[in-house]
């Protein structure tokens, strides 16, 4: 059953929040670490409420509240979040004080807020919402599992669900992930991400929320037809087989895809699979990327879904994507294919309503 995207809100390293026109200009950076452009939280959440919230909680709560408002809902039917790292800042704060003060009594605030379900809990608390509340911490498939859970709930009779994906980068996590070789060695422009032919990518972060509904309305941006994840494919053939069976289950083929959004991140080796698919299964489809806009992080596919839903809704691919021309026909079907470090792979098929 299709899920209807009633609203979609994103806070990202681009100007994506509030009334910003959809990606009509690009925020360019010369760094290997993209940070979110954050709104005024006094306005987006409320001065009193934000006092104890860490950055990821604020970004997420602000997007969730705006998302519900856009959908015209005071309470969602369910709150489901996906986050690989959870509340890193609070985790780091508590760990630091524990190590520095040698396990002497310290403030519990950071500990309490370090749990991965803090964001879903804070949203429930603000809304006084007792509905189903779940948090996935499935690495690069965290957001996808949140959407799968939400779509199952819609099938079980829920009329709407609030689903979000979020991850933050902190100084500590950036230092550790840099040492593990995830990022490029020297600063570069995010606009040149695919020009270096080198190892590594750029760090990113973001929070994006969606209201999904079980029935169509006048205001839907797009519909989510299906979501699928697969884990560490042995080779290209296994990836292709999985994508083909996913398309077959939706009674379509590669040539029915009007736009492919790939998770290319500038890492030479990791990008090979996308390039292979663009030259084979999806030869006919124009393809665009998104990690040059938001950077790489495990729940970046939430940003891609926000982008794809808006492209379908506007029936227009903004100029910054650099396509020679927009597709001649209506943009009906958009496929998002992403993998995070070749561990979790995911497919999200969205369509016009």
């Amino acid at each position: 059953m299709k899920a209807y995207i009633r609203s979609a809100v994103s806070i990202s390293p681009q100007k994506t929040f509030a009334a910003a026109p959809f990606l009509n200009e690009v925020a360019a950076y010369h760094t290997t670490r993209l940070s979110c452009i954050e709104p005024d939280y006094n306005e987006a959440i409320g001065a009193k409420l934000i006092r104890r919230m860490s950055r990821i909680i604020k970004m997420s709560v602000a997007s969730a509240l705006a998302c519900l408002k856009d959908a015209g809902l005071s309470q969602p039917g369910a709150i489901i979040t996906g986050t690989a790292y959870g509340c890193l800042e609070d985790t780091g704060t508590f760990l630091t004080s524990m190590v520095e003060f040698g396990e002497e009594p310290i403030s519990p605030v950071a500990f309490v807020q370090s749990t991965h379900n803090t964001i879903g809990a804070q949203i429930a608390l603000l809304l006084k919402c007792s509905c189903y509340n779940n948090t996935f911490v499935s690495g690069g498939a965290s957001f996808e599992n949140a959407v799968i859970d939400g779509m199952m709930l819609l099938n079980e009779g829920y009329s709407n669900v609030l689903v979000g994906g979020m991850d933050e980068i902190t100084d500590m996590s950036y230092a550790i992930l840099s040492r593990s070789g995830l990022y490029k060695r020297s600063p570069l422009s995010n606009l040149d991400l695919f020009k270096t032919n080198s190892k590594g990518t750029i760090a990113g972060e973001g929070a994006a929320f969606f209201t999904l509904a079980n029935a169509a309305s006048q205001n839907d941006l797009a519909g989510v037809d299906a979501v699928s994840t697969f884990y560490k494919p042995k080779d290209i053939a296994e990836t292709v087989a999985h994508i083909k069976s996913f398309l077959t289950a939706q009674a379509i083929s590669g040539s029915d895809i009007n736009l492919l959004i790939t998770g290319k991140n500038g890492d030479e080796k990791g990008d090979e699979i996308y390039e292979y698919l663009q030259q084979s299964l999806f030869e006919a489809a124009p393809a665009i990327t998104y990690k040059n806009l938001c950077g790489e992080y495990p729940t970046s596919s939430a940003f891609a879904l926000w982008m794809g839903a808006n492209i379908i809704s506007n029936n227009n691919i903004p100029a910054l994507f650099g396509l020679k021309s927009n597709p001649e026909n209506k943009i009906n079907k958009v496929l998002i294919y992403n993998h995070y470090n070749n561990i979790h792979h995911s497919l999200i098929l969205i369509s016009s309503c």
């Binding site: 790292y85 396990e103 519990p108 379900n117 911490v137 500590m172 697969f230 560490k232």
Partner: protein, 399 residues
């Protein structure tokens, strides 16, 4: 969508035993798992008791097949998940779509906190291999790979209700025909992070915990892992044995009261229990035994008790908190207690709530204080409540 889901296998490791028979023997013999901390390197050693798994990392490595440098959480998870998988006896059924849905609240924090000691003064220091398991999902995927499970691998973290939600998610993946069989539950090793976290909240008892006692002073932390193997009706009918029970009801309900405290009237616990009853089509008097969340904190036990009074008065089922044996194993607790609930139905047994001396005055019910056998335990309700108001209840039913 309302197809039945069956429990075909179970596995557990906790402070009272390294497998199902050892846990069962300790439960029957009223042998609690708490003691002085032996394995975790912490300044609280000798001061705060905990229910550690009674094996060093070297011993866990032998049992799990992982190198001893692996996160303790991976090894605990592997041991219990493997026991559950082998116990189900379904690996020879061809073309099964199998999944592993595992919960954890701390991931590889046992390694992260060691890493941080070197890393904090100098960000170029600290062994990177100690950060490999920091992310919760890496605990799950390490075990899934060793078990050869690839169709679906996911991780859930909703504080102390985590593994109840993993069991619910696993069951729903079967009902939606995404999977045929799933190992679902959770794991958490004892860490300095959680021990100090709960200690700064001043809810750790310096003595052995006394859940549902008027004079309770807090929880003891434990560690371990517990999993059930859930299967579809089709798989159940292909089994050489009868499944242990069915998962007949579940509900996830949010207290929406406070980030850490439970509401005084137990709105969240009430909603979760009532929702699970509705789904299973049962009435409160149908429940034969409640495996309580029963952490031993003032707040939890009074909130949970208030909800039980609202829902069950005047027909109270037998009830007990097995955290009086295992301590609070956080993200593993609902998985471990799902195994205990399944055993209660299989063997017709009810566990004692250890160290209960003075029942809570305001409640007209008293948890069980002795181990008892019964001709039949038909329906067991298992409660799990966590930070963030996350309340989940599961109901297991005899076939």
């Amino acid at each position: 969508m309302n197809a039945a889901v069956f429990v075909a296998g179970m596995g557990v490791i906790s402070g009272i035993g390294n497998n199902v028979p050892e846990n069962l023997a300790a439960l029957a013999g009223s042998q609690a798992g708490m003691g002085d901390i032996r394995y975790l390197r912490t300044n609280h050693r000798g001061l705060l008791p905990a229910a550690e798994v009674k094996l060093s990392n070297t011993e866990l490595a032998k049992l799990s097949g992982f190198p001893h440098t692996t996160s303790r959480n991976v090894m605990l998870s592997m041991i219990a998940a493997k026991e559950a998988w082998d116990n189900a006896g379904i690996s020879d059924i061809p073309a099964l779509r199998t999944g592993f849905v595992s919960a954890t609240t701390i991931g590889g924090m046992d390694k992260t906190e060691n890493f941080f000691t070197d890393f904090l003064p100098d960000h170029s220091k600290g062994k990177l291999r100690d950060m490999v398991y920091h992310e919760c999902s890496n605990i799950t995927t390490a075990v899934a790979e060793k078990l050869g499970i690839r169709h679906h691998v996911s991780t859930i973290s909703t504080a102390c209700s985590s593994s109840a939600n993993a069991i619910m998610y696993g069951a729903r993946l079967i009902k939606h025909n995404v999977l045929d069989a799933v190992i679902a539950g959770g794991t958490d090793a004892l860490t300095r992070f959680t021990l100090n976290g709960f200690n700064t909240l001043m809810i750790v008892d310096e003595q052995y915990c006394k859940p549902f006692d008027e004079n309770r002073k807090g929880l003891n932390l434990g560690e371990g892992a517990g999993y059930v193997v859930l299967v579809s009706e089709r798989v159940a009918s292909a089994l050489k044995k009868t499944p242990y029970c069915s998962l007949s009801g579940y509900c996830n309900f949010n207290d929406a009261y406070h980030q850490t405290a439970s509401s005084p009237d137990g709105d969240g616990p009430y909603g979760a229990m009532a929702g699970a009853l509705t789904m299973s089509g049962l009435q409160p008097p149908d429940i034969d035994y409640i495996n309580l969340h029963g952490t031993g904190t003032q707040n939890n036990d009074s909130s949970e008790g208030a909800a039980i009074k609202r829902l069950f008065d005047p027909h109270y089922p037998k009830m007990s908190s097995t955290k009086s044996f295992t301590g609070h194993t956080l993200g593993a607790s609902a998985g471990i207690e799902a195994v205990f609930s399944t055993l209660a139905i299989r063997d017709g047994i009810v566990y004692p709530n250890l160290r209960l001396q003075t029942p809570i005055a305001e409640f007209p019910f008293v948890p069980e204080t002795t181990f008892s056998r019964h001709p039949e335990i038909r329906h067991v309700l298992s409660n799990s409540f966590g930070f963030g108001g996350n309340c989940s209840s599961l109901i297991f039913s005899k076939l």
